[in-house]
C-alpha cells in the first residue's frame, strides 16, 4: 500500500530517508526552511502545510533545531499522524529526549526514535543495513518497515524508547573519546576497555531515566558504536582526532566540519550524574580533556588509577 510520507529536514539523513521511501514506491514530500532540489518523484516544500496530509512523518533535524521544528509541526499535525525522529541529541541538563520535546510541542503521540548503525549513504543507495526503532506502537514499526525496510534494511524494534534515544545520543560522545584515544596511540585493549566501560557508564545514567541496560548493549548503543569506529566516516571521529592533536574545542569542531552533539551530551550527562551522585569517570575525564584542563597522559593515568572492581 502506498504511503504518503513527510520528511522534515533536508540534511543528509532527511534526503536519504526520502530517497529510500520513494524507492519503495511511496509518495514523499520533504519540508525544509530553504528551497531544496531533490530527485523526482520526491516533492519539496518550504510550507509546513505540505506535511499535513502525510500519514507518517520523519523528523530529521539535529537536536538543537528539534524544538523549533516540533513547534512548526505542532501547527499542522493531529492525533492521526505517526512520527519518527532520527536526532542523536538531548535537550538541557535534565536530558530531555526528542520524543518528549515532540510530545510537548505537538499533539502527535504515536512516536518513535530511529537509531542504530544507520548510515545516510547506505540508506539512500539501498545497501544492506540495520536500524533500531524505539516505539511503544507496533503499528508505527510496521509502517516504518513498510516505508524504509524491504530486503535491504532490517528495522528491529524495542518499546524502550528512552533507552534508544539516550544510547543513540551518548554514542556520539563515546565515538569522540575513542577517536581521541586512538589518535594518542593507546592500544586495542585500552580502546576495548574504554568502549565497554564507557557504555556501562552511560547505561547506568540511562537507567536512572527509565532506560533498560540491554538497549545500550544492542543496536542503539554498542551496535552503533561499532559502526562509528569501523569507519563510517562520522564527524565525531574527526573531532576526536583533532582534539588529540592539540586543537582547541572550537577549532576541532571547525575541523570536524559538522555540529557535534556528543560534547554537549557529555556535559549534560555529567550534570545529571552529579545530581544523582553517580560516578562518571570517563565522561568527566573527557570533558576536562576537551576543555584543556588536563593532558592526555593525566587522563589515562587518572582512569587507570581508579579502584577496579567486579564487572
Amino acid at each position: 500500500m502506498t504511503l504518503r510520507i513527510g520528511v522534515v529536514g533536508a540534511g543528509g539523513f532527511g534526503r536519504a530517508i526520502a530517497q529510500a521511501s520513494a524507492r519503495h514506491g511511496h509518495e514523499v514530500v520533504v519540508w525544509s526552511r530553504k528551497d531544496r532540489e531533490l530527485p523526482d518523484p520526491i516533492e519539496t516544500s518550504t510550507d509546513i502545510e505540505s506535511v499535513r496530509g502525510c500519514e507518517l512523518i520523519f523528523l530529521a533535524v539535529p537536536a538543537r533545531h528539534a524544538i523549533e521544528a516540533a513547534e512548526r509541526l505542532g501547527e499542522v499535525v493531529d492525533g492521526r499522524h505517526l512520527m519518527v525522529h532520527i536526532s542523536r541529541g538531548l535537550i538541557g541538563p535534565e536530558l530531555k529526549t526528542i520524543t518528549k520535546v515532540i510530545a510537548e510541542k505537538t499533539v502527535c503521540r504515536r512516536l518513535g526514535a530511529l537509531a542504530g548503525p544507520l548510515v545516510a549513504d547506505a540508506l539512500a543507495e539501498g545497501r544492506p543495513s540495520g536500524a533500531i526503532l524505539g516505539t511503544g506502537f507496533p503499528e508505527l514499526t510496521a509502517m516504518v518497515r513498510e516505508a524504509l525496510g524491504g530486503s535491504k534494511l532490517r528495522v528491529y524494534d524495542t518499546p524502550d524508547v528512552v533507552g534508544v534515544e539516550l544510547a543513540s545520543a551518548t554514542v556520539g560522545f563515546l565515538t569522540v573519546v575513542l577517536a581521541y584515544a586512538d589518535e594518542v596511540g593507546v592500544g586495542p585493549s585500552t580502546l576495548a576497555v574504554l568502549a565497554t566501560r564507557g557504555m556501562v557508564e552511560v547505561s547506568r545514567i540511562g537507567q536512572t531515566l527509565g532506560a533498560e541496560e540491554s538497549t545500550f548493549m544492542g543496536l542503539a548503543g554498542l551496535g552503533d558504536l561499532i559502526a562509528a569506529v569501523a569507519g563510517d566516516e562520522r564527524p565525531e571521529i574527526r573531532l576526536g582526532r583533532a582534539l588529540a592533536k592539540g586543537a582547541t574545542l572550537s577549532s576541532a569542531v571547525g575541523e570536524a566540519g559538522a555540529y557535534i552533539e556528543g560534547i554537549e551530551v557529555a556535559a549534560q550527562m555529567m550534570e545529571h550524574a552529579r545530581r544523582l551522585d553517580l560516578e562518571t569517570p570517563i565522561s568527566s575525564t573527557f570533558v576536562a580533556l576537551s576543555q584543556g584542563r588536563i593532558s592526555s597522559d593525566d587522563a589515562i593515568q587518572a582512569l587507570m588509577e581508579r579502584r577496579v572492581g567486579r564487572e
Partner: protein, 568 residues
C-alpha cells in the same frame, strides 16, 4: 464470620417503591436498573474473547484454579473451607472437559467474579449521606456543635478544614458531555470519603470507585460503600481472569457514561512522596472505553481529572512511613491494623484538623483527554497552541477507528507519565511539609555521610536553633514562591500568609498530640527532632524540588533528598 458476611453480602435497604430517576439526576441514579446488563456485558465480552481459542481458555481456567487454590490454602478460613473443594475438583477435571463444558465453567467463574465486583446504588442512602455526612464529620470535629450541626445550618467545621481548588466551572460544564474520570493522589483511607465530599460541595457528580474489600469489613463503611456505587476489589486474588473482569467492569461503566474515580498509585503512598510510578490497569480501562465508544460511533468522550489530595496531617502517617522503611513493608499491600481502624485516632485526627485552618486541600487539575491534551469548555481536545482537534484521530488506522490493544496500552503508559507530571504541578505544599523539609534538610546537613536508616535512629539527638530555623524557613519559602510564580509548584494559603514563626508553631502543634511519637518539639531555644521518620514522611512531598529551594550551603543536603526519589 461477621467480617466475611459483611464483605460478601451487601446490606441493602428494602425496596418498597422503586425509585424512578429524573432526567436531572446524575448518571449513577440509573445504575441499579442497568446493573444486570452491565454484568452480562462484561461476562459476554470475556467469554467471547475465549470462544475460539481452546488453549487460551484452558490456560485461563488453570491459572484461576492454581492461584485460588494457593490463596485459599494460605487463608485457611471459612472461605477456604467453602471454596477450596470446588477449585481442587475443577482443576482435576479441566483436561477432561470438552469445549462446551470448559466454556460453561468459564461463564460461571466470570459471572461470580463480576457479581462480586459490581456495586449497588441506592438514591435514599445517597441522599442520607449527602445530608448528614458533613454534619457528622463536623460533629466529630466539634462535638459541642453536633446537635446544632445535625439540626440545621452549614457544617462550618468541615468548610474550615476542607478547601476545594480548581476550575470547577469547567468540570461542571463537561459532566453532561461525557465521562469524567477522577484520578487522585492517594495518601489515606480517608481519601475517598473526603473526595466524595469535595465533589458534593463543588456541585460535581457522584462517582463510582473501586474500594479494597478489606474496607468492607467495617459495618458502617460497608453499608455506605455497598449502596453508593463502590465496586469491590479483592487485592488478594491474583487470578488473571479476575483482573480482566475488574478492568472490563470499569471500562463498561465508563463507556456507559458513569463518572469514575480510581487511584492510579494503586495504594496509599507509603513514603509520602508524590506518586511517580502509576498502575496502568484501570487507567487502561478508561482509554479502552474511549476507543470502544469511538469504534461504535458513540459520542461519549472520556476525560481525566488529575486531582491531588493534600493533608497537613495524615491520619496513617506513622504506619505508612514505617512500612516504607522496613523490608516487610515492601510486600505489605493491605494494612488492616493502621490508624484508620482505630476510632480514637479518628477523633483526635479530626479535632486536630479543625483546630487548625486549612488542614486539607483538594485540588482538581485541568481535565485532559486520554492522550494528555487539554480540553476546551465543550470537551474538544486542544493543541499546545489552542487549536481544536478531533481526539478520535488517535484511534484511527489509515482513516478508520479500530480497536488495537497494543496501541491503547502504549497510550496508557504515556498517560501515566503525563499524570505523574501533573501531580507534581498540582500538589499543594502544606505548612507541615514545608517545616518538615527545612528541619529534615538540617538533619541531613548535620549528619554528612550517614545513611538514611541510621538517621532514622537519631531520636532527640539533633537540634536546630529556633531563630535560625525560622530564618531558613523564610528563605526557603521565598524560593518556593519563586517556583510558584513559574507555575512549577503550589503552596497553601497558610504557607503564603503565616509568618515563619507561625508556620513553625502550626506544624509543631499539628504533629504533637496526634502522632504517637513527637516529630519535633521546642526545648528552650532549640527545636529538637524527635522522630526523624515522621519528618521524612512529611518532607517527602518536596523530593522533586529540593535542589531548587536550597541555598548554596544547603545544596548538598538537598541533592541527597532529591536522590530519595531515585533510590527506591
Amino acid at each position: 464470620m461477621l467480617k466475611r458476611f459483611l464483605s460478601e453480602r451487601p446490606l441493602r435497604l428494602p425496596h418498597l417503591k422503586p425509585y424512578v430517576p429524573r432526567p436531572s439526576d446524575p448518571s449513577i441514579f440509573w445504575f441499579n436498573s442497568e446493573r444486570d446488563d452491565v454484568i452480562s456485558d462484561v461476562v459476554n465480552r470475556i467469554c467471547n474473547a475465549h470462544e475460539t481459542d481452546r488453549a487460551r481458555l484452558e490456560m485461563a481456567l488453570n491459572d484461576a484454579a492454581f492461584h485460588e487454590i494457593r490463596r485459599l490454602e494460605k487463608q485457611r478460613d471459612e472461605e477456604a473451607r467453602d471454596r477450596l473443594g470446588y477449585w481442587r475438583s475443577m482443576v482435576r477435571r479441566i483436561g477432561k472437559m470438552d469445549d462446551s463444558e470448559q466454556r460453561r465453567v468459564l461463564h460461571t467463574i466470570v459471572t461470580n467474579m463480576a457479581r462480586d465486583i459490581a456495586g449497588n446504588f441506592d438514591p435514599r442512602v445517597y441522599r442520607f449521606a449527602r445530608l448528614t455526612a458533613p454534619r457528622l464529620i463536623g460533629g466529630v470535629m466539634e462535638p459541642r456543635r453536633l446537635t446544632e450541626g445535625l439540626m440545621a445550618g452549614s457544617p462550618a467545621s468541615l468548610d474550615r478544614v476542607l478547601r476545594v481548588q480548581g476550575d470547577l466551572d469547567h468540570l461542571r460544564n463537561l459532566q453532561d458531555r461525557g465521562s469524567l474520570v477522577f484520578v487522585p493522589t492517594h495518601s489515606s483511607n480517608l481519601d475517598s470519603i473526603v473526595l466524595s465530599q469535595a465533589l458534593e460541595t463543588s456541585g460535581l457528580p457522584p462517582v463510582i470507585y473501586g474500594a479494597g474489600k478489606n474496607l468492607f469489613t467495617n459495618p458502617i463503611i460497608s453499608f455506605f460503600m455497598h449502596n453508593l456505587g463502590a465496586y469491590r476489589v479483592d487485592r488478594r486474588i491474583q487470578v488473571g481472569l479476575y483482573k480482566h473482569v475488574l478492568k472490563l467492569y470499569s471500562q463498561v461503566m465508563i463507556e456507559r457514561g458513569y463518572h469514575s474515580l480510581f487511584f492510579p498509585g494503586g495504594t496509599r503512598s507509603r513514603s509520602g512522596m508524590i506518586e511517580r510510578h502509576l498502575k496502568l490497569g484501570l487507567l487502561g480501562s478508561a482509554v479502552g472505553a474511549f476507543t470502544t465508544n469511538r469504534v461504535r460511533r458513540v459520542d461519549r468522550p472520556v476525560w481525566f481529572v488529575p486531582t491531588t489530595i493534600n493533608y497537613a496531617l495524615v491520619l496513617e502517617a506513622e504506619t505508612l512511613i514505617k512500612d516504607w522503611l522496613t523490608e516487610e513493608g515492601q510486600a505489605r499491600y493491605i494494612i488492616e491494623d493502621d490508624e484508620f481502624s482505630r476510632i480514637d485516632r479518628w477523633f483526635t485526627f479530626f479535632r486536630k484538623m479543625v483546630g487548625m485552618r486549612g488542614g486539607c486541600i483538594i485540588r482538581f487539575g485541568e481535565p485532559i483527554d486520554p492522550f494528555g491534551n487539554a480540553v476546551d469548555a465543550e470537551g474538544k481536545s486542544l493543541t499546545p497552541t489552542g487549536r481544536s482537534i478531533d481526539a478520535g484521530g488517535y484511534v484511527e488506522h489509515r482513516g478508520k477507528a479500530v480497536v488495537d490493544a497494543a496501541r491503547d496500552a502504549a497510550y496508557t503508559r504515556e498517560l501515566g507519565e503525563v499524570l505523574a507530571e501533573r501531580y507534581v504541578k498540582e500538589t499543594v505544599l502544606m505548612s507541615t511539609q514545608v517545616v518538615a523539609h527545612v528541619l529534615f534538610r538540617d538533619l541531613v546537613r548535620q549528619t554528612p555521610g550517614m545513611d538514611l536508616f541510621t538517621r532514622m535512629r537519631l531520636r532527640g539527638e539533633i537540634g536546630v536553633d529556633a531563630a535560625t530555623l525560622c530564618r531558613e524557613l523564610g528563605e526557603t519559602r521565598d524560593r518556593l514562591f519563586a517556583l510558584e510564580r513559574q507555575g512549577r509548584v503550589r503552596t497553601s494559603e497558610v504557607v503564603k500568609e503565616d509568618s515563619p514563626e507561625e508556620l513553625l508553631e502550626r506544624a509543631l502543634s499539628f504533629w504533637n498530640g496526634y502522632h504517637d511519637s513527637t516529630a519535633a518539639a521546642r526545648e528552650g531555644s532549640q527545636i529538637v527532632i524527635g522522630d526523624p521518620s515522621l519528618l521524612l514522611y512529611y518532607q517527602n512531598r518536596f523530593v522533586p524540588f529540593a535542589e531548587d529551594i536550597a541555598s548554596p550551603e544547603q545544596l548538598k543536603a538537598a541533592s541527597e533528598i532529591e536522590r530519595l526519589g531515585v533510590q527506591r
